[in-house]
Amino acid sequence: MSTMQTDPYFIDFPARIQAIQAEMAAQGIDVYLGSRLRTLSWTVDAFCPWRSYVVIPPDGLPTAFTFVIDAARVGHDSWLGEDHVLGYAPMGGQDQITVVSDLISRYLKGGKGVVGIESGMATYLPEGNLTHHEYERFQEAVPSARLVNAHDIVDRLSLVKDEGTINRFRKASCIVDIGHQAVLDAIKDGGYRGMTETEIAGLAAYAMRKAGSEWEWSFTGGNEIASGYRTSFTGGACTPATRRELQPGEPLMVDLHAMFMLGLGDHAHNYLLGPATPRQRWHAKNFVDLVSLCLNTYKPGVSPSSLADEMMLFAEDRGFAEYMVPGFEHGIGLMGDEWRIGLNDGPFPYWTNPDHVYQPSEMLICAMQYACPEEAIGFRYENPILITADGCEPLSRFRLAIEEI
């Protein structure tokens, strides 16, 4: 929680709520029932790992609900305070449907009105859309109200990032860079011998925690470490660390995640554990050149599809297109907002619109995956980037290279 406007991590949460309420009024929505993790983070400013809800009235403060065992902690961490973070529990009058619908009913005149809910689907498992069961039970609890899907309100308002959010991401990326330095220090000069992927994940986590990271937030297994053939799964952008021991002559992929005040760091750095072959160096140069081109290409006006076409043309000209996944981004926002970029306005519902046009102050993860399974080599690049007026700012500053150790 940061309430000082001079604090670089300050976010004007009351203004966010008022912006939501203005949109609710414009759309004829009397109460907004948020359930997605991204909505909880964006409105409550606290990590909500248990099923949680936020009820936003037409005016005034919202109220969040979470599992009673965690409600006091969330109330402490949130700008809302304990009076507006309540617990639910499996007992008479205290189950989540009852306590949430009781509050919703207070904002419906005669029980009638429109309740905005969050429904949809996601590739991201912890997205938190209202379940079918919850929908039916809430409808039973407020039978005269109309439940309408309204997540577009939060999606639209959270698309362009404010300074406090951006600074939280900058700090999280600084922490990730500390983690990468710790890994480099540990594995160089043969230090990697005898180490396992899980050990790399752990020593990075320790360094990042010492630097203030709250956790290795990624649902994909925390810090993702892959070595040898595990770097080269086709499309393989998910590699939870295993007990595999690092071996000389193999690639090593180190994808670290840190969290700072719900801002997310996510940067992947790659190594060749010596001795490297000329062919491995050829792959490495391809990848570094492509990442460099990609970072130089991101700017306002670019879309995921236009960028992919340009990158794949470069890869084809250089003879490595078959090793590339033809996608170069994923979405990012405060904790819980991962994967989809922009609004739900693409040809496939709840996927990134390939023709989404980037604008200044949007953030995304510049992400790409190179995989050559037949040679057991692959690389990953991820870095949160901020779209600026005429380009992009990569938030992680760890050097762009595939280093031979």
Partner: protein, 132 residues
């Protein structure tokens, strides 16, 4: 230079000749597979299937037939006009898939590793002088 009516037997024979001549097994990743591109709503109202067979990276067959598509490891379906736009380089095949204008049936993970091969084939096919 003669031009060929799109998807005619003559165009298909020319496609087979050019693909076989210009795509080495190395460029084809030595793949053994089969693929059908299924053209819906051709100008004469019919549906047509263009069948490709690859053995160890060699283009072994390219043939056209009307009606229902034959079995193949991969099938890409879409409107005739969409395929025509791709052949004229007015639309990228990747963009067509990403926007749902084309539909892929088959193992997506394997298809991902072969997408560059299909791009190379499309580039060769785009060089055929064609009347749509």
């Amino acid at each position: 230079m003669n031009s060929f009516r799109y998807l005619s037997p003559e165009w298909t024979a020319e496609a087979f000749r050019r693909l076989k001549e210009e795509l080495t097994p190395d460029k084809m990743k030595n793949v053994t597979s089969s693929m059908v591109t299924f053209y819906e709503n051709c100008p004469d109202g019919k549906n047509r299937a263009l069948y490709y067979k690859f053995i160890d990276g060699v283009v072994a067959d390219v043939s056209i037939q009307e009606g229902e598509p034959p079995d193949a490891e991969f099938r890409i379906s879409g409107d005739y006009d969409t395929f025509a736009r791709i052949s004229r380089a007015e639309l990228g095949s990747r963009a067509a898939l990403m926007t749902g204008k084309l539909r892929l049936h088959g193992n997506m993970v394997k298809a991902l590793s072969l997408s560059a091969v299909v791009d190379r084939m499309n580039k060769v096919l785009a060089t055929i002088p064609t009347e749509y």
